[in-house]
Each structure stands twice: as structure tokens, then as C-alpha cells.
Amino acid sequence: MSWILTVLSSSIGKKYIMAVSGACLSFFLLAHLIGNSVSFWGKEAYNSYASHLHSLGFLIYILEILLLLLFLVHIVMGITLFIENLSARPNRYAVKEKERNWSASTMPYTGILILLFLVVHLVNFHFITKTVSTAELVKTTLSNPLIASFYLLSLSGLTLHASHGFWSLFQSLGINHQKYNKLLQLGGLAMAVIIGTTFILIPLLIVTTDSFLQ
């Protein structure tokens, strides 16, 4: 079975790992978004969603470990690719290419921003002894302008990361077909923008309105 290691450690194999872990993280992101969108229906609905989620008990524990593993794989592989690619082009050009592919070129940087966000996010809402309801916790935490601005910045970074990633993962897995290319390209961009802006709406509504989650 040593051939599996050979395949997965090749340049293309690493991209398969990046693409598959990225796709799984995207499903998590979508699920997380749908869950958090319940907050648009008010405090009671949101708290009820949160308590239903926690009532899953053991299952949620397993899902958390799986998610952690996914993040680790994606991040470790992403950083490996970043370092390898830096050394594959040691000398930069004196004049930069005029038309840059911004979302693609910033993947490692938006990735690291998301990682920072992840740490802050988990400290905010996961590694915390809860004394109030989930809705109140979210409301008070994100009422802090510093935390809210950081959320806005990182969620914009996430949008940029996903706007390249959603299409890129298909290309890395060899899915490129003239009948579907437009759909993959535009669909990926649309998904990124929809997911990004919906997430951004939550801290934005908390800092700009009093009634949200009240």
C-alpha cells in the first residue's frame, strides 16, 4: 500500500487532499451558515436551535473531532504547499504582472486570516463557561466593536478564499467540462458571495441595530 503515500505526497496528490478537505470544510460552512441564519428569526428561534444542537450529545462530539481533523489536514497541507511554492520561485520579477488574480494569489494569506479567526471564534463561543443563553452570548460578544470589526475583516477574507476555492477544488479534481465550466465558475463565485455576506450580516446587524437578537 506504499503507493498510496507516493500518490498523496506528489504535487497533484497534495492538491487532491487540499480539494477534498476544502470541499468537506465547505459543507461544514454551509451547515454552520444555515444554523446561524436562524438568528434572523429572533432570539427564541436561535436559542432553540442551539439547544437542539447541544441535545445531539455524543454525536456532536464526534462531528467536532472530525471537523478538527479536516481543518488540520487542510491547514497543514496548505502551509506545506505555500512553503514549497515559495521556494519553487525564489526570484521575483522586478515588474509585477498587471492583471493579477487576487483571490487565487492571496489563498495562503486569507487562509491564515481564517485560522486566526478560528482561534478567536472558538475562544469567543466554544471554550467558555456559559452562564447566559446562546443568543445573549452572541449579542454581547459581537457588540464589542473591536471583535465585530475583526469578524467583518476575517469573513471578507473567507469570502475571497472561497471565491477561488469553490471553483479551484473542481479543477484540482479534474472536473472541467465545457458544458459546465460557466456554471462552476459563476456558481462558485455566487456561493462564496452568498455565504460570505450572510455571515457578515450577523455582526453587522448586531453593531448597527439594537433590535437584532433582542
Partner: protein
């Protein structure tokens, strides 16, 4: 036909180990009918007469088919014209008074030889791993004896257009050779003659590409934009598929 004058900032480096730097030259009068390489010829004649070492650059056919020429002009490999090699780039695309920064292709895998010349023999080493058909395919077949749909033949021919110039590697921020290898793999994988060695070829060429120090593809598409032959990144996707099929579904290791 017009006469233009340009300022040229050219990368000068005496050898692989020495430290290079930009040197600025005035082009003198250049007719817009000249090709980019002819403009460099004019400069070199002047440098030779004044006792200075001429600018070393690669070239051969000067008609856009051999893949020898290529430098980076103002950040773009082969210069600003789409689907055009440097030898086919004409000076009418520049304006009087323009400043052109001329650099060699840069990547870890292509070692600099001198000035604008880089060693692209790593491409040959990749081809030597499987970019050919070594089984006996018999004499010239009768036309249409082997049915190949026109669309498939066109795709194979489009991939076969790659001239191995290396601009894709030069344009890639990761120094990846995926567009070149994708073109070579596609060209043979699409045709019946390429089938017997299809899996072996994909595994061997990718292995060699990795060994030679090319980077990983980030799907950033700079290669496709720089390619003088318009090789599409759909060939990179095909390479990703071919490698997957060879790795997981064939008996080759």
C-alpha cells in the same frame, strides 16, 4: 512604418553563479516593423562595436514554432501581445519613449545560464519519462482507418501545439510546469496511439516533474494567459484526471 526610441532595462548576469543586475540602455532609432529580437540584434551590434559584451538571448526559428525564444517584458512572459512568441512580437505594439524592463524566465527549475538565457532542459527530462509512443504502431494508417471524432482530434492537436517554451513556468507564481505537462499528457491520452502507455506515462512524467523542483499548481491561470500557443487549463484538469485514473485505477505504481 515609424521610428521609435525606447529605454531598455535589461537583466545582465555573466553566469549561473554570479550576481546579476539591471543595466539601462537607450535603444537608438527602432523601426516599428522590426520584431522584438531584431530590436535586440540592433542593440547588440552597437554593444559589440563599442566593445561591450552583447546581451545573450535564446532564439532559433524566429517564426513562433520552435519554442527557443522568450523573456519577460514588463512582467509578462513573451511580452504584451496575446498568443504571440517574443520573436513574433513586433515593435509597432510599443510607443515612442516607452521603458521596457526585460528579464529572464525565473523559476527554481530553470537555472540561469547567462543574461536572458535559462536552461530549460528539465522539460526534456520530463518528456524523456514518457512524452512519446514507444510501442510499434505500424506503418502509416489509411486515412480514417482508425475512427477519431473530429472534436477529439482537434483537442489533441490543440494540446500538441505546445512548443515547450517554458513561459507557463515563468508566469506561474509557484513555478509550476502543469500547463506544459498537461499539454503533453493530453495530446497522447486523447489519441488511440497513446493508450498502451497511458497510465505509466502519467505517473512517470508527474514524478519527474516533482523531482525537478517545479512547484504545485494553485489554479491561478497565469500560465494560460502567458502561453503563446493558447494552451488551455482544461489540459491541467485532464492531467489531474489522468493522474487520478493512473494512480487509483491502473496496476502501475
Amino acid at each position: 512604418m515609424n521610428i521609435i526610441h525606447l529605454t531598455l532595462k535589461i537583466w545582465r548576469q555573466t553566469g549561473p553563479e554570479s550576481k546579476g543586475s539591471f543595466k539601462t540602455y537607450e535603444s537608438g532609432p527602432i523601426t516599428t516593423a522590426m520584431s522584438f529580437l531584431e530590436m535586440l540584434d540592433v542593440l547588440n551590434e552597437r554593444l559589440i562595436l563599442s566593445g561591450e559584451e552583447p546581451v545573450a538571448f535564446d532564439h532559433d526559428c524566429r517564426e513562433g514554432i520552435c519554442g527557443m525564444c522568450g523573456s519577460v517584458i514588463n512582467g509578462t512572459p513573451h511580452g504584451p501581445e496575446k498568443k504571440t512568441t517574443l520573436c513574433q512580437l513586433h515593435m509597432r505594439h510599443f510607443k515612442d519613449g516607452d521603458t521596457l524592463v526585460i528579464e529572464p524566465f525565473r523559476s527554481r527549475a530553470f537555472k540561469l545560464v547567462k543574461d536572458l538565457i535559462v536552461d530549460r532542459s528539465p522539460f526534456d527530462a520530463i518528456i524523456a519519462e514518457g512524452g512519446y509512443v514507444s510501442v510499434n504502431t505500424g506503418g502509416t494508417p489509411d486515412a480514417n482507418a482508425i475512427p477519431i471524432p473530429t472534436f477529439t482530434a482537434e483537442q489533441a492537436l490543440d494540446a500538441a501545439e505546445c512548443i515547450g517554451c517554458g513561459a507557463c513556468v515563468a508566469a506561474c507564481p509557484n513555478g509550476s510546469a502543469m500547463l506544459f505537462v498537461g499539454a503533453k499528457i493530453s495530446h497522447l491520452a486523447l489519441l488511440p496511439q497513446g493508450q498502451p502507455e497511458r497510465s505509466k506515462r502519467a505517473l512517470a512524467m508527474v514524478k519527474k516533474m516533482d523531482e525537478l523542483g517545479f512547484g504545485n499548481c494553485g489554479n491561478e491561470k497565469y500560465c494560460e494567459k502567458a502561453c503563446p500557443k493558447g494552451i488551455s487549463i482544461s489540459n491541467i484538469a485532464r492531467l489531474n484526471r489522468e493522474f487520478m485514473k493512473a494512480a487509483f485505477c491502473s496496476v502501475e505504481e
